[in-house]
Amino acid sequence: MELKKVTNYQVLPGPEGFLPPSAASMGIDLPGKDMSLIEGREVLEEEAMQKIAEKLLGAKNPVFFPGPQILWTWKEGVEEKAALIKQMADAVGAKIIPIPNHPNLTIWHNKIDVCVFVGVHCHYANVALKIIRGGSNCYTIALCGVAGHEDAMITLREAGVPSYKRLLEIINEKKGVSK
């Protein structure tokens, strides 16, 4: 038998309080195959990508926080992914800051209102995302290559070259429309 407690918890920008709970402990599940999460709700990946593009293009100071798995050409395929991420950052006018040790300091200091995690090892991403939600009002987006991050406001899963290409397409479409 499978029993799921209905949850009212939403993964919204903070500051959420002294120590916010993990989204998983509040009943938020990771998205299923080909799905994504927006603020804790499971949605189609396309919808999440639309929202990501919207958030990035509407941000005052969007920043990409790439991690080691994107920053170094440590295995086959990384270079292509990194190039697409760079294009994405350029397309939305975002700065790139390699994932900082103290995300909140960087966010406060730079007044970052939307940030994107990509290529950060999942464990450390999760630890950081909760702290960001606790201490800032930054909107967090995770382009996760594995299972996704419930503690981010928007998360993709198994995001790789095809997802990045699609996201870039959406961003460029939206930019074309807004001009």
């Binding site: 295995k75 270079e79 990194a82 790139i96």
Partner: protein, 288 residues
């Protein structure tokens, strides 16, 4: 290490912190640098929060600079002053708990040998005297009995320095330290002799104040561990903070103890280790 690990993804060079770029361009990987090159390249350890004048910090820096292949070395550390340098050290390392560093290193070395049977992967334990000779003595010695191919390096400041200066097994008899208010009641544990008897194929006792000797000991220990058996290097690092002397006086203390016999530098080779080192160093006489 695959060289690709040291390549920044194209397009991201400008956003990488300068220290990472320096590590790639001027780091020690694949270069075979040694202590003679210090000051000309970006070291594995450049920052640490240890006390000004800390002998251990110098020893740690020199040890890391002496690694024959830093690009394929994984360090297993343990709680203590030395562990405070490792979050910043530019090679992968494991913080074990306390005393179990040689067990963690045994598991790690075996795993790496399985995954990379044709590659050199040096597993080096760097731990303090408390971790090695007290809380970890049995685990350390068992890794020697089992003949694990790992190098154990003890940074001996003769106390539990990081916790405020308590007596350790490596403190000398009579030393007054915390938890030994009337002086230590038993002699310094003879770990180098224990290492010999436990089967270490190479054992050395050095200090950071003779950097070339330290370098040679660390290199030899690692090369012997690769092919022959367990090795042990004990480095005497006097602690100004807990022993209450001026940092400049450390060198004098080392000299005095060398002469009065209470801390003598030495080197021991098993026959196989001697043969290997002779072959690798291409010298007739193992002593320089």
């Amino acid at each position: 290490m695959k060289k690709e690990l040291l390549r920044i993804s194209p397009g991201f060079e400008d956003v990488m912190p300068l220290e990472y770029k320096e590590l790639i361009e001027n780091g020690p990987y694949f270069k075979g640098y040694g202590v003679n090159d210090l000051g000309t390249y970006k070291e594995i350890l450049e920052e640490h929060p240890l006390c000004a004048g800390c002998g251990l910090a110098l020893a740690l820096r020199l040890t890391l600079a002496s690694l024959p292949n830093p690009e394929d070395t994984i360090v297993v550390g343990s709680t203590g002053c030395n562990s405070l340098g490792f979050p910043q050290a530019a090679l992968q390392n494991i913080h074990s708990l306390f005393g179990n560093q040689n067990a963690v290193a045994s598991g790690l070395k075996r795993a790496l040998s399985l995954r990379f049977p044709d590659k050199t992967k040096d597993v080096v334990v760097i731990a303090g005297d408390g971790a090695t000779a007290d809380i970890g003595l049995d685990i350390t010695m068992h890794s020697w009995f089992r003949r694990e191919n790992i190098t154990t390096i003890m940074l001996d400041n003769e106390a539990y320095a990081n916790t405020g200066g308590q007596e350790s097994g490596m403190s000398s008899k009579g030393t007054v330290l915390n938890m030994a208010p009337t002086g230590k009641k038993f002699p310094k544990i003879p770990v180098p002799e224990l290492a010999r008897v436990s089967g270490c194929d190479y054992v050395a006792v050095v200090s950071p104040y003779a950097p070339k000797k330290l370098e040679r000991a660390v290199r030899r220990a690692i090369l012997v561990a690769r092919e022959v058996g367990p090795t042990y290097v004990q480095i005497f690092c006097p602690c100004p903070t807990n022993y209450k002397f001026k940092p400049m006086e450390a060198l004098d203390i080392v000299k005095v103890k060398e002469v009065d016999g209470s801390y003598v530098s030495k080197e021991y080779f098993s026959p196989e280790a001697e043969e290997l080192i002779k072959r690798l160093e291409g010298k007739k006489d193992k002593k320089e």
